[in-house]
């Protein structure tokens, strides 16, 4: 009797995680394509030319047809040359239309690639009907990789994408400095005797060749996605180019693995699922990137608001104490004064916990620690008011508001500098004591 549970019968998708050797071939092919795309994609995204990936991967169609007609085969070498030639032609036409005929750059891209694609569709219909399946070019047939003939022990699609990966990697290593400079500052690159235009054409050729190599295996849509999505994701995660290229390659591989698993589980198109996986990874980065994410920005804003609230509360208690030593705010009054709501309740609790304030019955009292903090803040506030009056000649009744806002950002060094700049005699312009 078999006591082991049948894994595939479980409601959980555990069965999907066991990948067969043919799944691994598919993943390797997808990953090689994704990494090859991500390598050049980083530069497209940084140059704000992401849509060139879309444009080139469609525009190469007539080049492929002509190459096929001339060589009478779907051999990859003639297709590469056809793609490179049309890639260069497309880039040239887009540039020329933009520069000399003053067509806006996005419109000139649109005119050129759609026209070339339409030409390609007509050529396919006229001359090669039957051998070229346009739908397949679009959607890819990653599933069929395992059935393809092999070259050097590898399936042909994997072999070609590996070659392109090698080419892209080599170009990146050899021309790293040049590509980097011409991407970030083309004007400087040109003055340094480096042709930014040549780099542009080189990059576009790489994009075209990469797109064509990937068509057979993964389809144009995965190419367009992988040129843009991993690079944009990496761009959300880092500010350094080398790290960005590394991360985007990693995301490409991850998208291939996740996409294949998900496609197995739901039994759908693998290339489409890899695209969706990459999109999902980008979505994660949008929300959770440590530095540029939406959530981290929200958290940062919340932390800042809380700090400002804490400091305002301490300063207010200090002022009340200063005005009349015997009077104290009640908890309710303090909450009202800093805006009420859960945020104020939270603030008071946090300050009590940090031993900055204490409650005595209904009343709210500063502790010694709290008083030291408050004194520092009120000092910043009054120094800034003095500075505004003495150096910017602002009227007395206009200085409180700006000082109230700036006081939270004046550190010890700035405090010293302000002290040296203003002539206080221990009092602010309203005649109140500046605490030491």
């Amino acid at each position: 009797m078999n006591l082991l549970p049948n894994i595939a019968a479980l409601p959980l998708p555990i069965g999907a995680f066991s990948l067969s050797p043919s799944d691994w071939t598919i993943i390797w092919t997808g990953a090689a394509t994704n990494v090859a795309c991500a390598l050049v994609g980083c530069f497209l995204v940084l140059r704000r030319m992401s849509m060139m990936g879309d444009a080139l991967s469609h525009a190469v169609l007539p080049g492929l047809v002509v190459a096929y007609l001339l060589s009478h085969s779907l051999d990859i070498i003639p297709l590469f040359f056809g793609a490179a030639a049309v890639g260069l032609l497309t880039t040239f036409l887009i540039q020329t239309l933009h520069q000399y005929a003053r067509v806006p750059s996005d419109a000139s891209m649109g005119v050129v690639f759609t026209s070339l694609f339409a030409l390609g569709v007509v050529l396919v219909k006229k001359f090669v009907s039957g051998h070229f399946d346009i739908a397949c070019v679009y959607e890819g047939s990653l599933e069929l990789v395992v059935l393809a003939d092999t070259v050097g022990g590898l399936p042909r699609p994997l072999f070609t994408t590996l070659i392109v990966l090698l080419i892209n990697g080599l170009v990146l290593i050899l021309l790293w400095k040049e590509l980097k400079l011409s991407s970030f500052d083309p004007a400087l690159a040109t003055t340094m005797g480096l042709s930014a235009t040549a780099m542009h054409y080189l990059l576009m050729t790489l994009v075209a060749v990469t797109a064509v190599a990937s068509f057979e295996a993964v389809g144009s849509i995965l190419v367009v996605a992988m040129l843009i999505v991993p690079a944009a994701t990496a761009h959300l995660l880092t500010d350094r180019l080398a790290i960005m290229v590394g991360i985007s390659a990693g995301i490409g591989i991850l998208a291939a693995v996740l996409g294949c698993i998900a496609a197995n589980y739901w039994d759908t198109n693998i290339a489409g699922m890899m695209t969706v996986a990459a999109g999902a990874l980008y979505g994660l980065a949008v929300f959770f990137s440590p530095r540029h994410g939406v959530c981290s920005a929200l958290v940062r804003n919340l932390q800042m608001s809380l700090r400002v609230l804490h400091e305002d509360l301490l300063a207010m208690l200090y002022r009340v104490e200063e005005f009349d030593d015997s009077k104290h705010l009640t908890v309710a009054e303090a909450r009202e004064a800093i805006g009420g709501g859960w945020l104020s309740r939270w603030s008071i609790a946090a300050l009590v916990r940090d031993n900055r304030i204490e409650t005595a019955g209904e009343q709210l009292l500063l502790t010694d620690l709290g008083r030291t903090d408050a004194r520092k803040l009120v000092r910043s506030h009054r120094l800034w008011e003095t500075y505004l009056v003495q150096h910017l000649g602002m009227p007395l009744d206009h200085v409180h508001e700006p000082a109230h806002r700036v006081e939270h950002f004046i550190d010890a060094r700035l405090q010293q500098e302000l002290e040296a700049e203003v002539d206080t005699e221990g009092q602010d312009p309203h005649g109140r004591q500046i605490p030491e």
């Binding site: 704000r48 849509m51 239309l97 067509v103 419109a107 843009i228």
Partner: protein, 446 residues
């Protein structure tokens, strides 16, 4: 609606045979996408049409999965919803993150399309029922499938959009050309922008089943870019773009028998684009090359007359006979014989193979030109602080473009400051020596 669609369709369109229907439909589509596309092109949003066309796919598939049939209106509604969602996501990404607009468009385009491909593969499984035959046409376009009901939808969409464009023409014009100004004037620019994008989405989605994804993007961009060559006025541009789009629809379906119709329509539109690129007055290549040649000819003629004046200046008012070799030494010339022949023809000089002499008319013109040149030189020396031996070349570039009123102004200004030399009141002396320093000898490239 009390009368259902097929009845209206029967009233209007059943008298037509299929090819007439197709022609009518593609003309309508071309016309309306030209009009709506004009705003997209002017607004720098040309590729949004491309994105919308791709982003429609998951909506179409979901609508099919929900309805279980190929109902054009239902599929279009699904496409419209996912298109609008895509537009919203792009604006949020651009607003919230450091991702730039181009990358955001690309990301949304490819991810939505990927989702569509996944859904499509689910639909193609045998246990999902319904007639799936029509779905492919949503990707690649098949105008031959056009039904009378589709034509009605297209006509209604076109009419509604035309009314909207007509009603809000002024507002759309403002946001297309100067969005910031419109906002500062209190116009609801976000709303207007959304209205434009939504019309773009509607056109794209009704056009998808007719010409397909990529070619729909083309119909948005190409007729509008074509019209832009011919005019600087928005209402004319809209009319022209509509006309080019409609003509491309009609001609494309007519000429493209036996070819994929969408591709044939787009290639016809491209044909109009290339013709306009070459032939349009003002912005076209031919007229710009012609204008350039005319300008170069005029400048060369003016250099000739001024050189003749300067060479014979010492003997004025007597008009002396100058040997041509002296003229050649004075300045570098290209095509001198042709230049002289032209000047003889217009009555400015008399010339034989060896010599050349200004006519009275030529002398007058030459004096005017020399005066303009020297006034500008003096102005540069005195107001721009340029060294006297450097002004000749700068003046050479500008003198041909000085207008009569500007010259008068220069003369007044110099006279008011007492700097206009009164030795020869008509033509002032040159502020530098003429043709002596070989380094400074102005060369004419013409």
């Amino acid at each position: 609606m009390t009368v259902d669609q097929p009845v209206i369709a029967a009233l209007f369109f059943d008298g037509l045979n299929l090819s007439q229907k197709v022609m009518f439909g593609t003309a309508l589509l071309g016309g309306i996408s030209g009009v709506v596309g004009s705003f997209a092109v002017l607004r720098g949003r040309s590729l949004v049409g491309d994105m919308l066309a791709h982003a429609a796919l998951p909506g179409v598939c979901l609508a099919f999965l929900i309805m279980g049939s190929r109902n054009m209106l239902g599929l279009s509604l699904g496409a419209l919803l996912s298109g609008l969602l895509a537009i919203g996501m792009v604006s949020l990404l651009v607003h919230w993150t450091r991702t730039k607009e181009d990358a955001a468009i690309g990301i949304v385009l490819s991810t939505f399309y990927g989702m569509g491909v996944v859904l499509l593969s689910i639909i193609q499984k045998p246990h999902i029922g319904g007639n799936k035959a029509g779905l492919d046409s949503y990707l690649f376009g098949e105008p031959g499938n056009m039904l009378s009901a589709d034509l009605v939808l297209l006509a209604v969409v076109a009419a509604v959009l035309l009314v909207i464009v007509f009603t809000f023409f002024k507002e759309f014009q403002l946001v297309s050309f100067d969005n910031d100004f419109a906002r500062s004037q209190g116009w609801p620019t976000l709303l207007l922008d959304l209205a434009l994008m939504a019309s773009l989405a509607v056109v794209t989605i009704v056009g998808l089943p007719i010409v397909g994804i990529i070619l729909m993007a083309a119909m948005i961009i190409i007729p509008a870019s074509t019209a832009r060559f011919w005019t600087n006025r928005l209402h004319i541009m809209l009319l022209l773009a509509g006309a080019f789009g409609a003509a491309a629809g009609v001609l494309g379906t007519k000429l493209g028998r036996g070819l994929p119709a969408g591709a044939a329509i787009v290639l016809t539109a491209t044909g109009f684009f290339v013709l306009s690129l070459l032939l349009a007055p003002g912005r076209g290549v031919v007229s710009r090359v012609l204008a350039e040649v005319q300008l170069r000819n005029r400048i060369a003629r003016e250099h000739l007359l001024r050189s003749l004046y300067e060479l014979s200046e010492s003997d004025l008012p007597k008009r002396i006979l100058l040997p041509i070799h002296k003229l050649r030494e004075y300045r570098h010339w290209r095509f001198l014989p042709k230049l002289l022949a032209g000047a003889v023809e217009s009555g400015h000089v008399e010339s034989d193979d060896e010599t050349v002499k200004l006519t009275p008319l030529g002398l007058q013109r030459a004096a005017e030109l020399t005066k303009a040149h020297r006034l500008w030189e003096m102005y540069l020396v005195q107001h721009a602080g340029i060294a006297a031996d450097h002004v000749d070349r700068d003046a050479d570039d500008v003198e041909h473009l000085l207008t009569a009123s500007l010259l008068l102004e220069l003369e007044h200004e110099l006279a008011a400051e007492g700097r206009l030399p009164d030795i020869t009141p008509e033509v002032p002396d040159s502020p530098h020596e003429l043709g002596t320093d070989p380094k400074n000898t102005p060369s004419s490239d013409f």
